[in-house]
Symmetry: C2
Subunit: 180 residues, 2 copies
DNA sequence: GTCTATAATTTGATAGAC
DNA sequence: GTCTATCAAATTATAGAC
């Protein structure tokens, strides 16, 4: 797949932020992972803040885009919440990393405002998606509350599973959703 | 106990880690917050790794200690899970910070092994406490699974509430526990 | 677009005086 | 226990050549 240079930078930065947050990636680290110099990374993204905003936007678009629409999932006979849980599980298994916006969300206090704002967009769009999913599945009341519960549980499940190095923690945690 | 200075260093370091994680505190920042020099901080904790381990141990002991025993809570007629939720809520409201071990748990991949090990202790002890709480409250089966669900949900609820800057996200999220 | 070179600052850590 | 002084390395960022 023909990734251009900016995409490659975004992908490497994403991986680093998902492993250790905003303060764990540097222009030099990204550059050497790609095989270029740090000044070349600055050519594409002039400041660290700019790069982090771009990564967050890219991550959010990819994540929401990969989900598809809740309505389509329901009308194809599948459970949109199960699909949503699988998206988080895949992120943990395949990329072996945290949710980028879960990580940044925890670090809110030390982030540039523009990055915080973009991280909030992730959560807003996720809550919207889940709200629609619950409504389309027949939940009349409390769809937004259910949405907040679901995304919160999944972010937390990633943390416990990540630190314990045991995916069964993730699976145990998300079973809580079966009861609602 | 090496109360005064060392305690102060631990408290300042705790606050900084809870705001931005392992890479967001430095010997100089801690020193200037206290009014001493960075070399004096090194006198008490020779390396950053040592300091982080000490902070994590201290945080875990304080957190578990403040909870009291689940048995005592139950026999005094109160709900231990409600008390547990309140402990997390207080951490968010009063200190305006994340759970230290939730933060470090997310950053596992970039932490020294000794810090990861100590962070795991936090989660192990929390799961144990909750397991006992659920068993003492009359739950026969699945107490450990419930424990994992509860601590995961609370860690995630702190993230969403923190990033959105709205405590109602925390309150909405934890209502999921009422259904189990 | 990428490079070399460099500036200004911060970092974790140490040596030795008091 | 705290200080001054210092170090080597890393950080974000810029200027200018090719």
């Amino acid at each position: 797949m023909g990734e251009d240079r900016e995409q490659l930078i975004l992908n490497v930065a994403e991986e680093m932020i998902r492993q250790g947050g905003y303060n764990s990636f540097s222009f030099r680290n990204i550059a050497s992972a790609i095989g270029i110099k740090s000044s070349s990374v600055h050519y594409h993204y002039s400041t660290k803040e700019d790069l982090a905003v771009a990564v967050t936007k890219y991550y959010t678009d990819q994540f929401i885009g990969a989900l598809g629409s809740p309505e389509d999932i329901v009308s194809s006979g599948k459970n949109p919440i199960s699909q949503y849980v699988q998206a988080f599980r895949q992120a943990l298994v395949k990329d072996k990393g945290m949710c980028l916006c879960g990580m940044l969300g925890a670090e809110t206090d030390i982030l540039p405002e523009s990055v915080v704002a973009e991280t909030r967009v992730f959560f807003q769009r996720n809550v919207e998606w889940l709200e629609t999913a619950y409504r389309t599945s027949g939940e009349k009341d409390g769809a937004k509350e259910k949405a907040i519960q679901t995304v919160s549980l999944l972010e937390g499940a990633m943390i416990t599973s990540n630190v314990m190095g045991d995916l069964s923690f993730f699976d145990a945690a998300v079973k809580l959703l079966d009861k609602s």
